[in-house]
Symmetry: C3
Subunit: 350 residues, 3 copies
């Protein structure tokens, strides 16, 4: 069960190059992506209407794509426009197309009702190409449902344990309770850890001599967009009161897109606004974040494998105070699923 009427990240812009179809499965649907002559990204269901062969192994001809099994050709709207040895094109041979918007290095796709694909609902991922910030492009593939990854991002207490030597550095992170509130389209979380050690990866690129205040404040937008303002600043310079002096700031920008019920695409980046003229700093930050995200990957993979065991099918997750944000989030997800199911039932009853 996936929320359909929302913008999902389909790919990094750099993944879809001119002249070559790109295949990716999104929400269990195979999708073929390519660029037309103007560079605009086209997205069709990656399944020829004739015998079900993938279009993505086909051939681009101008803006159209030809299936290389029996030669049917489709335009950018998915209309069948040629069948070899046949003049009339019968109805029913069109292929679904999907609204796409390319914005700030991400290709966003709308897998639900195209009439509802409102560009105004696009999340703000501008830090990915803001000239005052620097970052690199990250991608990890999960063989687990996206909800387990969302859970992970909704309780950063895990940073103390899973990321002890990379992003964390202290158990103090887990020992404070964040402030949590519902926002219009998700959950807003603020976590402050005062008078503590800096994050290990920050010490590698811009070390502090003394104690710092750390913050991790983020919006988690349903179903899977994570936008965080995080950083470190010397204790006593007033960061908690809004004065960011001598701070190392980040704007982590992440997106989860379900590949299937059992797999997830994870797009991420860690923009920073200090030392932006030193590419090796950007690279070191990125490499440390990748290392940390592979720590998550291992933990979530182990957790998912454990939950899949037949003897664990009746397991109910235990509830603790730190689950507040993920509890709110799962409630929001269910509400959206229920709304879409209701609309579907109404549509079918006319």
């Amino acid at each position: 069960m996936f929320i359909k009427n929302c913008w999902y990240v389909a790919a990094w812009s750099s993944e879809v190059v001119a002249g070559k179809p790109f295949a990716r499965t999104l929400l269990d649907v195979p999708v073929a992506l390519w660029r037309d002559a103007n560079g605009k990204v086209i997205a069709l269901r990656d399944r020829c209407s004739h015998r079900g062969a993938p279009l993505s192994t086909g051939r681009l001809e101008g803006d159209s794509i030809r299936c290389l099994y029996h030669g049917l050709r489709f335009d950018v709207q998915g209309r069948c426009i040629e069948i070899p040895a046949q003049e009339r094109i019968p109805p029913g041979l069109d292929v679904p197309s999907y609204p796409v918007i390319e914005q700030h290095k991400w290709i966003w796709i709308w897998m639900g009702d195209p009439a509802k694909a409102d560009p105004a609902k696009l999340p703000d991922n501008h830090y990915l190409d803001d000239p005052a910030w620097r970052s690199m492009e990250g991608y990890v593939h999960y063989d687990t449902n996206y909800l387990l990854i969302a859970d992970n991002l909704l309780d950063l207490a895990h940073v103390s344990y899973v990321h002890a030597t990379t992003l964390g550095g202290t158990e103090a992170i887990a020992k404070v309770n964040p402030k949590i509130r519902l926002s219009d389209d998700g959950v807003h979380v603020e976590r402050w850890v005062r008078n503590t050690v800096p994050a290990p990866f920050v010490q590698k690129v811009r070390p502090y001599d003394g104690p710092v205040d750390r913050w991790m404040n983020y919006d988690f937008l349903v179903p899977g967009i994570f936008l965080m303002d995080s950083g470190n600043a010397p204790t006593g310079t007033g960061a908690p009161e809004g004065h960011r002096v001598d701070a190392t700031e980040f704007r982590s920008t992440q997106a989860l897109t379900p590949e299937s019920e059992d797999a997830t695409h994870y797009f991420f980046s860690q923009p920073h606004n200090f030392l932006i003229d030193q590419p090796e700093i950007t690279r070191t930050i990125h490499e440390n974040v990748v290392k940390a995200f592979l720590e998550d990957h291992q933990m979530i993979h182990d957790q998912a494998r454990n939950l899949r065991r037949s003897s664990n099918q009746d397991f109910k997750m235990g509830s603790i105070r730190a689950d507040e944000a993920l509890g709110k989030y799962r409630w929001l997800v269910q509400k959206r699923l229920d709304e879409e199911a209701k609309v579907k039932v109404q549509a079918e009853s006319y």
Copy 2:
């Protein structure tokens, strides 16, 4: 669901060597094949009646086979003829045997009612060892249902696209409509492409300077025998009228045998009758056909994987004019399945 009462190819003769059992799964049934003292091929169900161990890992003793788990021994009819430490052999320990005929390098097997195993129903595969023709032995394993491979062979329009650089060479093949008619036991298809380029693989072994007429005329016998008369001849020499002058002719001989619902054995050969004293010509032809059949393998594998996705379970293949032969064929297959189901119900009702 498989048609049972027909001859299937179980193996190339060369695969079943003297003194050693050979194991292959056919129609989802494990079969052990071996040669008796006279070289005649024996086929038993590859499952000891005692604990279910495979007989094919057992030991041949004269014409009989001994299971090497607990030592039961079976004769060529599958009768249990020895149990260690036990004088009387109780009923119910026999193993099913299957009628087998070896003909023209292929070992044919009948997996249905043995009483119906009529040698007169054997397809004609004599080109495989006809002294006026030369060919090599081909085999490819598919992890897809055999029907998708049959579909491929029933619409040679795909030769233009899938085999552009091997068997095809021109989109003209896809742009003509073949003549199609039902035959007694399958579909007969005739495709003529006039005044066109020769097939790329033919140019490698016996090049033409000018345009040729090409033909691909075949019988596809239910459930999976493909027998084709194909070739090239210079345009204007009268090939369409039946005069084969300066022609390069082939008698492609192919057989599909289901391994299971999700896998297929594909036996094939490409006999030719020109330059038959030059083994390197025969080898080059074979290598090009293998290359082309791996192109099919890739396409059909991709198609099958696409059709297996859960989101594609409700997909109905779209119908175009080129589907005529495969439509007729699938109708014939269903008719045979229905007949066999009816006979089974009648047999059970007595």
Copy 3:
């Protein structure tokens, strides 16, 4: 379906080292094992009560274990004793613990009702560390149900065929019928083969010049403990009458523990009481037994794969005289399963 109220071997003592949790799945339940400060083995269900992460990838802190996902900590009884950033520990967060006894190099675990975990019911595996005997530690993993392996051990006729060149050496073993009787908790089998050749592996370590009498007498305790007195002695020296002169004796000690319905842990050892001051003799014996058990592994793997085929689902194993012991054993297993099901129903009906 597993018998729950009995002692199973969870591991060799050497597998659970100080300071590091050890993970193993038993009866389809993931279990984390570790040693407390006194070296006593602790066993908890390997699933954090919070989000289901494995505890075995956690951190030992004194005798307790901390889950390294969100930091919950559990004591040796599985009680949750710490939650970061939360003072009160709510009910329902404990993790099941299992009774464990370490005895003669094996760690025994009781996966059923802890109140019934009677140490007096422990099988006698003392030959594993008896100073008069020598052996090495063996383990093989099976991807089959444990019953197929039990069947193998309950009919040693297979030694003639499966182990012709290792443990057998003659078909005479299969040609005698053993004496079989029910014991309190299993089946007792006695097989004597007189005036025959010694076992091939015995000839490698302590060869006989002439014929020997051989015996293989064992208890197979439900559900999977195999304790055998076996050996060779020169024919005519009175072994069948109880005089063991110039004998090579073994006390094979084996245990089957289901990992899941489709996989089994197989622990084994082959203690011998001759030439015990020559480690290379012990090693040669062990290596030959391992080789033989891999012969079993191959046969049982082939058998299981054959039985799993969809076309073999309706197969009923044929019955022969040699099945007597395994018939009695399977009857005992079913009786125990029925008893446990009845107790469960009674417990639920109050």
